[in-house]
Symmetry: C2
Subunit: 343 residues, 2 copies
């Protein structure tokens, strides 16, 4: 037992399993290419809740509860709930916690909060702290629009670089395992990012703002662990979308001759929707994006051995309407977790 | 090495020292009874910064840098910066992180974030993760007013139960110590709270909303560790103020015959100002309140043996203007850290 410190940013673990994962999404996400992997698909954005904020917290609660149900666990065995969302003062995560009554570790890293929560939960478990951690994140298209943009009724035209905040939640149940057995899916490493800000100020183009942060964390991770990107079957960024993946690939090529990441790079936001047909422009975004794509799709790909090793790199833009209105640029961060299936 | 798990909520540590602490405050706080304990007192709320948001992040950066300077450390040796603030999307903590470029673990627990960060930082260090963690929190009166209340220029009348969001930041440098020596100040235990919501809906009375959460966490802590409140020289809640301390005391008396906490209970928000003369009504609040009172005053009281053992219980109200406008009640949380001086 005990965390292995590989650098200030990177840590490896031997005993942290992901016992189960669950994802609940909205109707638009349920019409996308990953539909068959989600545990539950709502037939409307509000699903009979009185507001999008109440709907968002319900989405999270459903994902958390399903993750427990799948392995016959109950809330009383959960030591910590770790996670966050994008709403001011984290009200989705906070209000959901009124129901479950477990110790709550609230995190904020914008859309990077899912990988941050997995990484921190894993580190806490490996260090001998909590035995079982329920890590989760969520977002809701309508509550994000209300908070960050314009009234839905306005029907404003979005730019080609704009992302679509997903209505989605994902949760993973992490627990301490004495030994890894064949078939166990485990969090093997985490790399915690630093803030990267290249001066981008366009709130309708998060890809350009976030790509340098994603590149920085992936490079840090590979350097710290002495790995090449081919160590992973796939590296999934959080919500860089169509444009962002190209930018990370370009940054890698610029960094070093022979760095060819394109075959290994993928993105949760690009995968969540049918980009050509669903009018989402650059792709999905929001904390629920990487949370649901991992907890629904990627976790199952690991379980069924489609993938053996993946690196999930959730990406976040750390600005607010206030900082934007004050003319500030957009600081970004990316946190990474390496998830492997034991043979 | 290794965290001792005492319950889902409570953990104890043997190797986490607080090597230094620093607090920077605004002019009003600098006219309060703790003035002589603060490292730096600004002579104006903005201190020549262009906005209160920029001022708030500068306040945090100054406290963080001073904590390092005091022990001759530099940023390159800091593994993690852990902490948060009250602004939407954590912009004080996030933007400050553009400068230091260290791995950032963003936390949110409203005004409870300082104890949450100390507890989580301690657990991560004890578990063999980061060696050195800089934990901090901040708030600024003017940026909080802008975000949560009315324009300052309106000069609205506050209620007697209203708190005064402090212009203050505090930071502590935590590091792994092989063995404790005489004079070392250490984080010996942490208890992570659950969300408590008794249905209070009055945004001008955080005391009534938060007191049950503070009581819940203190009781959990004492039960988990088999301690009586007299184990501590003083228990300092975060920002319950004059009214809130009385409520926690009343809850203790109601809980069990003979529970008399009044002589041990104190509050950072009540201590930060001269309640009778400084027109702060119920007392100070904001994440910077417990951060600065601990990092300025309490840490020195431990160093100089005025206190041997204290329990810091930062308290947070987890609501937003949106949740308030939607008629929701105010969920609250309290996180506790036990801090001791070794003889």
């Amino acid at each position: 037992m005990g965390v292995h410190r590989r650098s200030a940013a990177s840590y490896t673990f031997d005993h942290v399993g992901i016992r189960s994962a669950a994802a609940v999404v909205g109707p638009k996400e349920g019409h996308g290419p990953l539909a068959s992997y989600f545990d539950r698909i709502w037939t409307s954005e509000l699903n009979n809740h009185v507001s999008s904020e109440v709907a968002e917290r319900a989405l999270l609660t459903e994902a958390q509860s399903l993750a427990l149900d799948k392995v016959g666990e109950n809330w009383a065995h959960v030591d910590w709930v770790v996670g966050g969302d994008l709403l001011d003062q984290l009200i989705a995560t906070d209000f959901a916690a009124r129901e479950h009554q477990r110790p709550l570790i609230g995190m904020f890293a914008a859309c990077a909060v899912f990988a941050e929560s997995l990484g921190l939960g894993a580190l806490a478990i490996e260090g001998g702290g909590p035995k079982m951690v329920l890590a989760g994140a969520c977002s809701h298209h309508l509550s994000a629009e209300r908070q960050f943009r314009y009234p839905i009724e306005l029907g404003y035209q979005r730019t080609p670089t704009a992302g679509w905040t997903s209505t989605a939640a994902g949760a993973c149940l992490l627990s301490y395992l004495d030994a890894m057995n064949s078939g166990d899916v485990a969090i093997e490493a985490a790399t915690f990012g630093r803030v990267v800000d290249w001066g981008s100020k366009n709130p309708n183009d998060m890809s350009t703002a976030m790509a340098p942060a994603a590149f920085d964390t992936i490079k840090q991770h590979l350097d710290d662990l002495g790995r090449d990107i081919t160590y992973y079957d796939q590296v999934y960024t959080g919500d860089l979308g169509v444009l962002g993946v190209k930018l990370v690939d370009a940054l890698a090529q610029k960094e070093k001759e022979g760095f060819n990441w394109s075959e290994r790079l993928n993105d949760c936001g690009r995968s969540l929707y049918d980009i050509d047909k669903q009018d989402v422009h650059n792709g999905g975004s929001g904390p629920g994006c990487s949370a649901s794509v991992f907890s629904g799709f990627l976790y199952r790909q690991l379980q069924t051995q489609q993938f053996q090793r993946i690196l999930l790199v959730s990406t976040g833009a750390l600005f607010s309407p206030t900082s934007y209105q004050q003319g500030e640029s957009i600081p970004c961060i990316a946190h990474a977790v390496a998830i492997v299936r034991h043979n």
